[in-house]
């Protein structure tokens, strides 16, 4: 009994799904006898089955529906929309009851009678309204229907139901067989088998291959199943939102893996929902923009290689990219500056930005954008790709490409650190050798960067991720451009890529999955188990900076007004040490060739002699290694001069103001991309701040006069006076010119002069020859305390000048 019941539930549920479309189709063409018959048959079957299964509610419902439909069939009146809705409600109730029985829950108590009453009432209304006119061609149509019906019945293939576990067992059995065959083949090869044996073995191989194919097909399901719920949803939503929509479904006969169908249902539903809710406008709006009032929604599926391409196209208003950008910026997910650097496609892809979906409904303003990040994540999790094609005002096409199956995927076998791993081919965008001329590798602070044809990518070696030392090997390493979960690709460096194979993927044990870098395991034909790498997981485990902010897709193609102020003119040059760097051209006065002999270095500070003057130099020059002339950039920050020796000057270019990578180190501010090369940017501030004040005395502006009282003292004459002169003071001996200026500072040593005599007219700095002061009220300064001495003089002369 139980078995019968569960079979009944399963069958009913399946027919219900199939019938949803029929009801909707019937609504658009109420006179279609075929559809009516199909619907009638369903209720009839349900009524028959539940009679002997003792399900009174089912019976009552289906009986009522059958009655109405039989009246409709007898041709009294075509069903109107209200009647169809009522029939749908009855079907829904039956579906509810079915799932309640299936899950063993108690049946929900609802008023079935009311439903039935509504149904009858609707039908009566329809009858009274219906025109009594009968089409002349009605008879003709009938005959056509009969033939079509016959064809359909013959065409329907006979099917049986099988539990899924049985199919899985079969699949495993075939895998075993393939492995056994491979082993046998190895044995045969080593043992020099006879031609007859070889022939027999070949036949076995063919049989096994065929069998593997057909068993794989048992897992396949028509995409129809994926489409089943859509017509009903479109109808319900359209009605709810007051929109008129014409739905076209194409390619329902394409087959894909059962599991895959289940994985795609949700994203597809979501996209269709968005399309109707946000994409297709209300009839009035459509008429206003000159579009037909009925919107069209086209969902198609086709197979392309090992992928299924599902396209959802509408002729609605499309995505308002500006509104999306506004939303992204307003939510603080990206700065306006970052966004402005994106190209059109990248801007459109902002719709996938995580966090956007949690915003309040952006419906009327921006078009869609609800949960698209989740849609993308779901598609990518099964190795698929989603892309948008937006035609603002005219419609949007969303394309999903998903693999045919989850369990057998095309994979690449790669080697790293002497171990083999598999990676889904769908995750790989490109594979290059590291000696490829379009590839350049660089490392900054341990982080590796790869530039391929002008685009920079983060790079990680697989050996580093798995913690295995790399194995020395002849030949170049392989760089794989891999998709990560966030959509930003990165480079995975591996020893080499071995080959590619169709892999049967099994889930890995939790203790293995917990490493976060594996997606499963597989048993390739050589019988050696292998781990399947999880491209997204590796990026996470390696903590690669794959944040959206770094994803600057540079708008190199366009040089519009918006982009122009974002660049400055820079001088590109090659350092003596070989790096290519760029400096603001406005900082460079001129480029000059200077003889290597003119360079000098003192106390760690480099300088160069030009025109009889010493000018600070950014770097010291190894005079032994360099002879002849050295190209120098003569730079000036307005006041100070600097000489920057370089290997050679490359070019003058427009350089983007924004750094592509912020990596301040020494005089380097970071890295920018110019014409496909990455160039370090000189930080002008850091460069000039390395110059110390007064490092090289450029001109002597007299700071004031110092009067040294005792001109006969040898210390005063030979040590103090030169020090003062070097510091920029004029030195006067004795008390000769006391009256000439108020800026003079009188320096006195020892107790030779009475302080009281001169203090009124001069600032006085007293010096003493012993390091320790003579007493607590001794305000003299130790004469070898250079900084205190100079401080006191400058302070004293400052006081004097302000007083004057």
């Amino acid at each position: 009994m139980d078995e019968l019941l569960s079979e009944f539930v399963a069958e009913t549920q399946e027919s219900l799904e199939a019938l949803a479309n029929v009801v909707v189709a019937l609504e658009s063409d109420p006179s279609d006898r075929n559809l009516l018959d199909e619907l009638f048959r369903f209720f009839h079957t349900v009524k028959g089955s539940c009679g002997f299964l003792n399900l009174p509610r089912f019976e009552k419902l289906s009986h009522a529906a059958e009655d109405i439909l039989s009246e409709v069939r007898s041709g009294d009146a075509p069903p109107d929309a209200a009647t169809i809705t009522a029939v749908l409600a009855v079907m829904d109730r039956i579906a509810e009851l079915c799932s309640a029985i299936a899950s063993g829950a108690s049946l929900p108590h609802q008023n079935d009678d009311q439903l039935i009453e509504t149904l009858r009432h609707c039908y009566k209304m329809a009858c009274s309204e219906a025109a009594p006119a009968v089409d002349d061609d009605h008879v003709e149509k009938d005959s056509a229907i009969v033939t079509e019906q016959a064809v359909r019945n013959n065409g329907a293939s006979r099917t049986i139901r099988l539990p899924l576990t049985l199919i899985d067992q079969l699949m495993n059995g075939v895998s075993d067989m393939v492995l056994a065959r491979n082993e046998l083949s190895r044995k045969l090869r080593t043992n020099d088998a006879s031609p007859e044996l070889e022939a027999a073995f070949d036949r076995l191989s063919t049989c096994i291959a065929d069998m593997r194919d057909s068993i794989s097909k048992t897992r396949m399901q028509r995409v129809d199943r994926l489409f089943m719920a859509i017509p009903r949803m479109v109808r319900d939503l359209g009605r709810e939102l007051g929109k008129s929509i014409e739905l076209t479904l194409e390619g329902g006969d394409v087959e894909m893996d059962r599991e895959m169908v289940e994985m795609v249902v949700d994203p597809l539903t979501h996209i269709v929902r968005n399309s109707i809710d946000h994409g297709i406008e209300k009839p009035i709006e459509r008429a206003a923009t000159g579009k037909p009032e009925t919107g069209t929604l086209r969902i198609s599926a086709h197979q392309s290689g090992s992928q299924i391409v599902i396209e959802v196209a509408d002729d609605g208003r499309g995505i308002n990219v500006d509104a999306v950008i506004g939303k992204v910026v307003a939510k603080g997910l990206m700065t306006a500056q970052d966004v402005s650097k994106l190209n059109d496609q990248a801007k459109l892809d902002l719709i996938f930005t995580p966090g956007l979906s949690t915003a309040e409904q952006v419906t009327s303003v921006s078009g869609r954008g609800v949960g698209m990040d989740i849609v993308r994540a779901n598609i990518e999790r099964i190795g698929g790709v989603i892309s948008l094609s937006n035609d603002p005002g005219q419609g949007l096409t969303i394309t999903m490409r998903v693999p045919l199956t989850l369990t057998i995927i095309p994979g690449l076998i790669l080697s790293a650190g002497g171990l083999n791993f598999a990676i889904p081919r769908s995750a790989i965008i490109e594979i290059l050798h590291d000696n490829n001329p379009t590839v350049s590798l660089s490392a900054l602070g341990g982080g590796k960067t790869v530039t391929i044809r002008g685009t920079r990518y983060s790079m990680i070696d697989l050996e580093d991720v798995i913690g295995v030392p790399p194995v020395e090997r002849q030949g170049p390493r392989s760089l794989m451009l891999v998709r990560s979960a966030s959509g930003k690709p990165y480079i995975l460096g591996v020893s080499h890529v071995e080959n590619h194979e169709e892999l049967v993927i099994r889930p890995a044990a939790p203790i293995v999955m917990s490493a976060g870098i594996y997606a499963g395991m597989t048993l390739p034909d050589n019988g050696q188990p292998m781990l399947l790498l999880d491209a997204g997981g590796i990026a996470q485990a390696a903590q690669l900076p794959l944040v959206v902010e770094n994803v600057d897709v540079l708008d190199t193609g366009e040089t519009d007004e918006q982009a122009s102020p974002k660049t400055y003119t820079g001088l590109r040059f090659i350092e003596l040490t070989g790096e290519e760097r760029v400096v603001r051209l406005s900082l460079v006065e001129r480029v000059e060739d200077i003889d290597a002999g003119a360079f000098g270095e003192t106390a760690g500070r480099a300088h160069v002699q030009i025109d009889g003057r010493l000018i600070p130099c950014a770097y010291g020059i190894d005079k032994k290694a360099r002879t002849g002339v050295i190209t120098c950039l003569r730079m000036r920050d307005g006041a100070r001069e600097l000489c920057y020796p370089v290997e050679t000057v490359v070019d003058i270019d427009e350089i983007p103001t924004e750094l592509d990578m912020d990596a301040a180190y020494g005089v380097v501010a970071g890295v920018v991309l110019v014409a496909g090369q990455h160039i370090e940017v000189i930080d002008g501030y850091a460069l000039f701040s390395t110059l110390q004040d007064g490092q090289i005395v450029e001109e002597k502006a007299s700071k004031g006069r110092c009067v040294i009282a005792d001109g006969d003292d040898i210390w005063n004459r030979e040590i103090l006076a030169p020090l003062l002169m070097q510091a920029g003071y004029d030195v006067i001996w004795g008390e000769a010119d006391l009256a000439t200026g108020g800026h003079d500072v009188l320096l006195m040593s020892g107790a030779g002069t009475q302080a009281g005599d001169v203090s009124a007219a001069h600032a006085v700095v007293k010096l003493r020859s012993s390091s320790a002061p003579a007493g607590p009220d001794d305000d003299s300064i130790y004469r070898y305390d250079r900084s205190a001495l100079l401080n006191a003089i400058s302070l004293a002369s400052g006081i004097r000048s302000s007083a004057a």
């Binding site: 495993n172 895998s175 492995l179 890995a508 939790p510 188990p529 781990l531």
Partner: protein, 149 residues
């Protein structure tokens, strides 16, 4: 409680494993290493068309370095094959002694046993000597506990 037990040794300690958990005992040959995971995961091995995740029980319990298999043929490595929550595992043990039906009841653990064994042992069995009672499910659950810690 009587039942059929597999008698084996893990890290030199005799253990009794209820045979409900045990699917087979196989001799391990070559293992494919699994880098980047806990040390007690000795690797992967193919058993017909199944892939076993091989867990070195001694390494798990004592925290010692896992054995390397295939380097020398001198030592034979046995793995107990089991299916736990949908995944196939092979538990590496030092040695497998016997499979016997034991009619004696399960005894509580007596004495202060080494701390490393505490999380794994649920009792003891006396049958021609004492054995720790060990459940494979518990053993693997402990793997995940260790990982979470």
């Amino acid at each position: 409680m009587s039942g059929l037990y597999l008698f084996a040794r893990i890290a030199g300690t005799p253990v009794a494993i209820p045979t409900e958990d045990v699917e087979a005992v196989v001799r391990m040959s070559e293992l494919s290493p699994v880098p980047g995971v806990a040390g007690y995961v000795a690797g992967l091995s193919a058993l017909r068309s199944r892939v076993l995740t091989i867990v070195d029980a001694s390494a798990l319990i004592t925290g010692s370095a896992p054995v390397t298999i295939g380097d020398d043929g001198s030592k034979e490595n046995y793995a107990i094959v089991c299916d736990i929550s949908g995944h196939s595992y092979g538990i590496l043990v030092d040695d497998v002694d016997d499979i016997r039906t034991v009619t004696n009841p399960v005894l509580p653990v007596c004495g202060k046993i080494s701390e490393i064994w505490l999380p794994y042992v649920s009792g003891a069995i006396e049958d021609q000597g004492q054995y720790f009672l060990l459940s494979l499910t518990g053993l693997l659950e402990q793997c995940l506990v260790q990982q979470a810690a």
